[in-house]
Each structure stands twice: as structure tokens, then as C-alpha cells.
């Protein structure tokens, strides 16, 4: 078995068409896929200031490495890496090491904001205090910090490491639970430019599989080992993820098809739910919200 382009030793096998690629052809393939996504959906434009949300995991460091490469060529693009330290002992402390190492090596500005410093408690402490599911608290407060800090840094875009798997899981979850309106707010780029409070979110790895990203990170030595959040639970998403992985194993290309057909209908969905998006601002912090007071402020109040 050899690479389909150059006859070298392969590092990845694609069951969808029974072909394989060697390391350098795989790097070229992945970079071209990410670049195509970026240009097709206009994710990055000259003079952008992009905050790249990183956790120290494979997805976010791969995202950062591609965006950094682009910014090094197009000097009007500015990037800042932002890491949210939730305060999860035995987990985040390990991935932070990988994140810092990466940014130092590539001379990228890294800002670290912690739950402890911003809200007074670590996530570990909040869970005991609030008696709520860890991922709910974690997700709400992390999103809040990413948005407010991006504004503070004067960024106009926020890049995340979301990949084909995350997105196809969300599409299926929203179908299964009859939540298509939520799907209308998804896609490779989200948010509209109305004012400074709306940072557009971009997902350069939108069409990349976890295997491709994991392999890229492994071959580049981005990550030091397997780290899993101790709170990652057997959730609905996890069940959908296992189901899709097993199904995709049996019928290669399934996840890709889910996303391709989703992208086909996305403009129609966006159009249909356009008028439903009423913009309100949180009475406590002024951030955009769908309720009177945003979820983050409600949580922060409970902590006091």
C-alpha cells in the first residue's frame, strides 16, 4: 500500500474511496481543504483581528496553526490566542502546558482568563456551590468570557476548533429533538455584523474529520498525550457521537453527507427564521441575549 500521489509510505486511509496518503501529501490535502473552506465562506478577510479560542487540544491548536500561517503571509491580519482556564484540576492544567508551548514556539500572543479571577471561583468550586451540571456552567461562562474578552481586545472575529463531527452531531441532535431553529444559527460562519457586540464566529475546520485533525496534531507534535475532562459525561451528544462514528465506520462518508446536505438547506433555514431573531440586551451586562438577563449573569448572581 502506497500514497495515491507519490508512492511513499501512507499515514492515512480514506475508506470512502479506498485511497491513502503519505505525510506530505496529507498535509497538502488538509491545508488545501481548510483554505477552500476559508475562501468559500469568506471566513477571513484582510484587516481582520481574529481571536482564536484555544484549549490546548488538537482541534484548537490545529485551527491556530492554520490561521497563524495565513496571518504570517497577510500582514494586515492580526491574531490573538485566548485560553479560558475554567479551573478543572488534573485536566486544564495539562492542556494549558501544550497551549503555552505552541504559542511561545510560534510567537503568538496568548491571553489566559480564568473563572477564578473573573468570577471568584474555579469550575470545580462552582459545581459544589451551584449543584448544576458541570458542562452547563462551563459552556455558558466560557462563551461569555470569549465574547466579552474578544470585544475588549477589539477583535472582529472569533475562531473556534469546531469540526465536521461537532457540526454533524449538532445537526442530528437538532433534528432528533425538533430544534431546527437552532440549526438555522449554525454554519461555518455565524453572527451578523450589527455592532461591536456581535463578534462573528468562524470555524475553519468545518469540513475536517477528527481523525484528520488528530493525525495532523500528532504528526506536528502539538499535543502531549490523551487528556479527557473528568466531567465529560455520557450525554445526549456523546450518544449521538458514538452512533455517528459507528454508522460512518459501516457507511463511510455519512458525516460528510450530513454536512453537505445541511449546507444546501442552510440558506433556506436562515431565511425562514430571520424574523425570529429579536435582539435584546442583558439588563445586567449589556451583552446580546434572548431573555431579559443573560444566562451568564444569572449564574454569576447565584454564585454571590
Amino acid at each position: 500500500m502506497v500514497c495515491k500521489h507519490c508512492l511513499s509510505k501512507p499515514v492515512i486511509y480514506f475508506p470512502i474511496n479506498s485511497t491513502q496518503l503519505c505525510k506530505s501529501c496529507f498535509f497538502r490535502y488538509l491545508e488545501s481543504k481548510v483554505k477552500k473552506t476559508i475562501s468559500k465562506y469568506k471566513l477571513i478577510e484582510p484587516k481582520d483581528h481574529i481571536v482564536v479560542a484555544i484549549s490546548g487540544g488538537k482541534d484548537s491548536l490545529t485551527t491556530l496553526s492554520f490561521i497563524n500561517k495565513i496571518a504570517n503571509k497577510q500582514r494586515t491580519i492580526k491574531i490573538t490566542a485566548v485560553l479560558i482556564d475554567e479551573g478543572i484540576s488534573n485536566y486544564r492544567s495539562k492542556t494549558i502546558v501544550d497551549a503555552k508551548k505552541f504559542c511561545k514556539k510560534n510567537k503568538i500572543t496568548l491571553k489566559v482568563y480564568s473563572f477564578k479571577k473573573e468570577f471568584g471561583f474555579t469550575l470545580d468550586q462552582m459545581i459544589i456551590k451551584l449543584k448544576m451540571k458541570p458542562c452547563t456552567i462551563c459552556g455558558v461562562l466560557r462563551r461569555y468570557l470569549l465574547n466579552t474578552k474578544s470585544q475588549l481586545l477589539n477583535a472582529n472575529k472569533l475562531a473556534t476548533g469546531h469540526n465536521l463531527e461537532d457540526e454533524s452531531q449538532s445537526v442530528i441532535m437538532n433534528q432528533f429533538r425538533n430544534n431546527v431553529e437552532i440549526s438555522a444559527r449554525m454554519g461555518p460562519i455565524t453572527g451578523v455584523i450589527i455592532n461591536k457586540k456581535f463578534i462573528r464566529r468562524i470555524k475553519p475546520l468545518y469540513l475536517c474529520t477528527e481523525k484528520e485533525i488528530g493525525l495532523f496534531a500528532f504528526l506536528n507534535g502539538f499535543i502531549s498525550g490523551y487528556h479527557e475532562c473528568p466531567y465529560a459525561e455520557q450525554s445526549y451528544r456523546q450518544d449521538v457521537k458514538d452512533m455517528l462514528n459507528n454508522f460512518d465506520e459501516k457507511y463511510p462518508g455519512t458525516k460528510y453527507s450530513i454536512i453537505q446536505s445541511f449546507l444546501e438547506i442552510l440558506p433556506l433555514l436562515k431565511n425562514k427564521y430571520k424574523s425570529n431573531i429579536r435582539l435584546k440586551y442583558c439588563i445586567s451586562c449589556g451583552e446580546p441575549t434572548s431573555k431579559e438577563e443573560c444566562q451568564a449573569c444569572q449564574l454569576i448572581k447565584k454564585l454571590k
Binding site: K211, G214, L215
Partner: protein, 64 residues
């Protein structure tokens, strides 16, 4: 019998399998969730395995 280290579980097993694909099937691990190495070099699903191979299964799906 190959010696296989599974990073997610941090354990070593010994198992007989003809190819990487067969190995993953025996362990019920979807091949789209892991990469497999032999002497720290990546091998793909179709690769034949030898007796006494030292393998690693590295998870690429993450939690959190």
C-alpha cells in the same frame, strides 16, 4: 500475539490479529476514532501485523 498499548485506557493488552483493521474490529474501536502506530510510526488500516509487534492505539476523539 501483538502487544498493544491503548492510550485512553492507559493499559497494555496482547492480542492476535492479521491486520490493523482486524485488530480494531476485535477491540470494537471504530477506525475513524484512533490512529495506530508501530514503533512510533503510523500504520494504516490495511497494514499487516507481525508476531511480537509493539503497537499503540492513540485516540483522536476528545472529550471536553
Amino acid at each position: 500475539m501483538a502487544r498493544v498499548y491503548i492510550d485512553k485506557e492507559d493499559r497494555i493488552i496482547t492480542i492476535a490479529a492479521g491486520t490493523v483493521r482486524e485488530l480494531l474490529q476485535k477491540l470494537k474501536i471504530p477506525s475513524n476514532t484512533v490512529i495506530v502506530t508501530r514503533n512510533d510510526e503510523i500504520i494504516i488500516e490495511t497494514e499487516k501485523l507481525n508476531q511480537k509487534d509493539n503497537l499503540k492505539i492513540i485516540y483522536v476523539v476528545s472529550g471536553g
